[in-house]
């Protein structure tokens, strides 16, 4: 009982409350009202997922047929019946050269997902073997003051995910370190507010692509005499600059709209500025700051894909781009896999922020 209570609390806390209802279903302690909730919270989403997959399947099939028909038709008008028959046979055999290149079906995507995992396992094994092989050598090189030999093989899909996460967290951290302090200063001082207002209004709507180009111009020159790969630096800075605005605006707003009574208390007690900021202003604007950070993280994740693609920085964005360019048999399916992975990770990041927000915030009313 106690355990189920804590589980319920935890799952509710991280916004996955329906999980505990599922658990109740299996343990058998469920009444009518709960059952209705269960229906609404689990059966309905499940049904809608199935419906979605069904529609997708049919849509993909229709698109496939349309393209196949078009190809056969074209062969017929261009080259005659024999060519059309050959085309039909070729399409039926699933050969890459003539296969319709359109929206992949759910099962193709699932297969690609499995093949990406297999590929990852192979690369991981390869990496481990490489490490083992070079372990002794590297030790010696380090002892001699030389750089270690590192694995330079192709990154697997899972590696790309982690690189993307690394970039997004670096960008997010940058956004946090710039936007929160700046937002506090702007919120505290009407002078700074009017000094920065135009700046915020103008730069906030600038598109990620332009930010990327701007950062590229600057970083390229700054790192001109270093031969390191600057693509990671450029992409995380661009991500940070694109995504920091929500936090900046929300922090400034939170800080400038602290309850007048709290400020009066601080004045009556003659709190110093440090005390005033850390004991009164910041805690009271924390909910708004976190709302901003939550938006920042989701924007960061969203623009990351585009920026990685532009910066040619390894990660999911580049993965998608390369698959698109490469046009192999299952490229489209892999792109869809990446799409789902991007979406799911975005969702999880959002939940993570919500959890932290609930944890630090005094205001326990459900934040969305």
């Amino acid at each position: 009982m106690k355990q189920s209570l804590t589980l319920g609390k935890v799952t509710k806390f991280i916004g996955l409350g329906f999980l505990s209802t599922i658990k109740d279903l299996f343990t058998g302690n469920i009444d009518k009202e709960d059952f209705k909730t269960l229906l609404r919270k689990t059966i309905v989403p499940l049904a809608s997922i199935l419906l979605f997959i069904g529609l997708w399947h049919m849509g993909a099939k229709a698109l496939y047929n349309k393209e196949a028909d078009f190809k056969i038709e074209k062969a017929l008008t261009d080259q005659g019946q024999a060519a059309a028959d050959a085309m039909e046979a070729c399409i039926a055999s699933g050969d890459v050269s003539c296969k319709p290149n359109t929206l992949p079906s759910p099962s193709q995507v699932w297969d690609s997902y499995k093949s990406l995992l297999r590929d990852h396992n192979i690369i991981a094994a390869d990496k481990a073997a490489f490490k083992e092989k070079t372990a002794a050598l590297n030790e010696k090189r380090v002892a001699d003051g030389l750089d270690e030999i590192t694995y330079t093989g192709r990154p697997s899909f899972v590696d790309q995910i982690f690189r993307s996460l690394k970039t997004v967290f670096a960008g997010f951290l940058l956004a946090l370190l710039i936007a929160v302090p700046l937002g506090i200063f702007i919120g505290l001082s009407p002078t700074l507010k009017s000094a920065f207002n135009w700046f915020i209004q103008i730069f906030k709507p600038v598109s990620p692509v332009v930010w990327y180009l701007l950062v590229f111009m600057i970083v390229k020159t700054l790192l001109i005499d270093s031969n390191e790969d600057s693509s990671f630096t450029i992409s995380f800075i661009s991500v940070g600059l694109c995504s920091m605005w929500a936090t900046l605006v929300n922090t400034a707003m939170g800080v400038s709209s602290v309850d007048k009574d709290y400020i009066n208390v601080a004045k009556v007690l003659k709190l110093g500025s440090f005390q005033k900021i850390f004991k009164v202003v910041l805690p009271s604007s924390l909910p708004l700051i976190f709302t901003g950070l939550k938006i920042t993280l989701s924007v960061a994740w969203m623009v990351l894909i585009a920026i990685e693609l532009l910066a040619q920085s390894p990660g999911l964005g580049l993965f998608v781009w390369e698959e698109f360019q490469n046009g192999a048999n299952d490229s489209n399916a892999k792109i869809i896999v990446a799409m789902f992975v991007i979406g799911i990770i975005g969702f999880l990041l959002d939940r993570l922020m919500l959890t932290i927000q609930n944890w630090v915030s005094f205001d326990k009313t459900d934040a969305i």
């Binding site: 007690l269 924390l286 205001d363």
Partner: protein, 276 residues
């Protein structure tokens, strides 16, 4: 101690109604407040004169909007004055400070802090040289005084309105101000809780004798707590209309006050003033 002062008071009140300066804690002289509005200046208070003695409890009544909050926030230093002067113990005030504690209408506790932390926020500020243990003791002492010995570590946001206002009272007394300013502190509470808090307030006050100025809309509350009830005229250009001395002896109980022959005389006086 208090009897000596009372004896003294009867002798020293001079003919023009002013107290000798060494007895005055709070002195408002020709106080004026103007709020600029789109339709021109609005003069809320003008030529307002009021002296409050040491260890006196004064309540202020007046019609809504006459400028009571304005006056109190100017005394607190939270609202700039447009003319005249305010002095505490003969020294003109400059901005807000912990020598004038305030209990606001809303409890205004920091909801993310515990009851104890809220009280400590002030105590730490006012007694920077005391040890941590001493400061904790001070804060806990006042929380006990308001009946919150079981709620030291409860978050302010988890306390009821009445309990929050108790913390507000503890916080205000714990910084040992020279003057305590209260702006309808019990206005938001139900009448039962209000009675309880009045008792708590007057009990602590009997012990600490901190000069207090309290705004209230409740005539019975005004009589029960005060040495003098100050009546303000209606605005604009509000000033002090009348002052009523309440001569019940302290410590008072609600019962003894209600049963006192003068009670209805006082009450009638105040209500007559307000109905004009």
């Amino acid at each position: 101690m208090s009897t000596i002062i009372e004896q003294n008071q009867s002798n020293i009140i001079t003919d023009n109604g002013l107290f000798p300066s060494n007895e005055v804690m709070l002195d408002l002289k020709n106080l004026k407040k103007v709020y600029p509005t789109p339709k021109g200046d609005y003069v809320v208070l003008e030529d307002l004169n009021l002296q409050i003695r040491k260890e006196e409890f004064v309540t202020i009544i007046g019609h809504s909007g006459c400028g009571k909050t304005t006056m109190l926030s100017m005394i607190a230093g939270l609202n700039p004055i447009s003319g005249g002067r305010i002095s505490v113990l003969g020294k003109q005030i400059k901005g807000p400070g912990p020598d004038r504690g305030v209990i606001f209408q809303a409890p205004s506790l920091m909801p993310w802090m515990t009851a104890l932390q809220n009280v400590l926020l002030g105590v730490n500020q006012v007694f920077p040289h005391a040890t941590k243990a001493q400061r904790n003791d001070i804060a806990k002492y006042y929380l006990q005084k308001v009946g919150l010995e079981d709620a030291f570590n409860k978050r302010a946001s988890d306390l009821s309105q009445g309990m929050q206002q108790r913390v507000g009272i503890a916080r205000a007394f714990a910084i040992k101000p020279k003057v305590l300013l209260l702006d309808e502190p019990f206005g938001m509470l139900d009448s039962l809780t209000r009675g309880e808090l009045q008792d708590i307030l007057i009990e602590i006050w009997n012990k600490e004798k901190i000069t207090a100025v309290m705004i209230t809309h409740d005539v019975d509350e005004a009589i029960f707590l005060a040495d003098r009830v100050v009546m303000m005229t209606s605005g604009p250009k509000a000033k002090i209309g009348d002052i009523l001395d309440i001569e019940f002896e302290r410590p008072r109980t609600r019962k003894s006050v209600l049963e006192h022959d003068d009670y209805y005389k006082y009450r009638k006086h105040l209500i007559d003033f307000l109905e004009h």
